[in-house]
Point group: C2
Amino acid sequence: MSANAAPLERLIESFGKLPGIGRKGAQRLAYQVLSMDKTEAMAFAQAIVDAHTKLHRCKVCQNFTDGEVCSICADGARDHSVICVVESPRDVGAFERTREYRGEYHVLHGLISPMDGVGADQLTIKELLARLKNETVREVIMATNPTVEGEATALYLARLIKPLGVKVSRLAYGLPVGGSLEYADPTTLGRSLVSRGEL
Amino acid sequence: MSANAAPLERLIESFGKLPGIGRKGAQRLAYQVLSMDKTEAMAFAQAIVDAHTKLHRCKVCQNFTDGEVCSICADGARDHSVICVVESPRDVGAFERTREYRGEYHVLHGLISPMDGVGADQLTIKELLARLKNETVREVIMATNPTVEGEATALYLARLIKPLGVKVSRLAYGLPVGGSLEYADPTTLGRSLVSRGEL
């Protein structure tokens, strides 16, 4: 039997359900919540409730939003003719931080992965194709991860989208900026050679 | 401006307030909460609320409990004549897992640390001394961390407790079990030599 009181044990278990957090990490976090002042802890609990009750998918791009349409899709100043297709809402944030991209997004909420039992019908592919039919989209940028699943999903989508007369592009492979040639894996280095540009 | 909807941003901020969790980690955790099913997320929020409303300090040992007295202090089968003094409730769990200790605990809820502005009066020292006066305690084991603050607190308490006619002991220093001599720091190795035992 654990010496922990039941409410503490339940909090530890809740933290432990988060992927990447083991029993020890969950314990540490639970004690840290206990040492927060009460207002802060209540705000934390309310934030979890709010995230689940107030957030839903944007009816256009499927990113999380508390409105009907997310702030990016609702922004008239953005380029509605380009859609960047990403695996998850996190990736939207990553692109926004580059400050390089002014187009729209489409969040798949996963990648095709037969090993994990995720098929094309569990992703938001229907919604993407509907957007391509209704909107005047020029280009779809496949921005899934450079992994087996990311590649497979990108290729699968490209096959579906090209017949609609929309240009499909893929993120460039190459050396990470600030990285060292020495530490680049052979595949990445090979790709950076093949895709070399003129100076 | 962040592209995140306000409820998501608030959840990320709440996670970010936990020590050791940066902005990226907080984002990852927030999205993981969003991908939980609703029942699980509500249970998580409730666990935080419960931990703060139902838990308080055991009136004897100052560990967290949901009763008036914690399960260890209430356990008649434990040895009430020995008190193990620890910094935090986490340490109680660590000793319980050894299954070696059948005495009681006293949780200081901190260590004396002038650098961090923590003085003796912010710890539960008053409560410890009251226990020593009212109960028939034979021995107090100082089980604070082997750090500067842990040592200072142990020495400070020993000075207060010894005049009461109670034996004060300290955890042994030495090589970690299963560790390698080669990797032991000189101070630890020196201590293990000084405290060597007969075979």
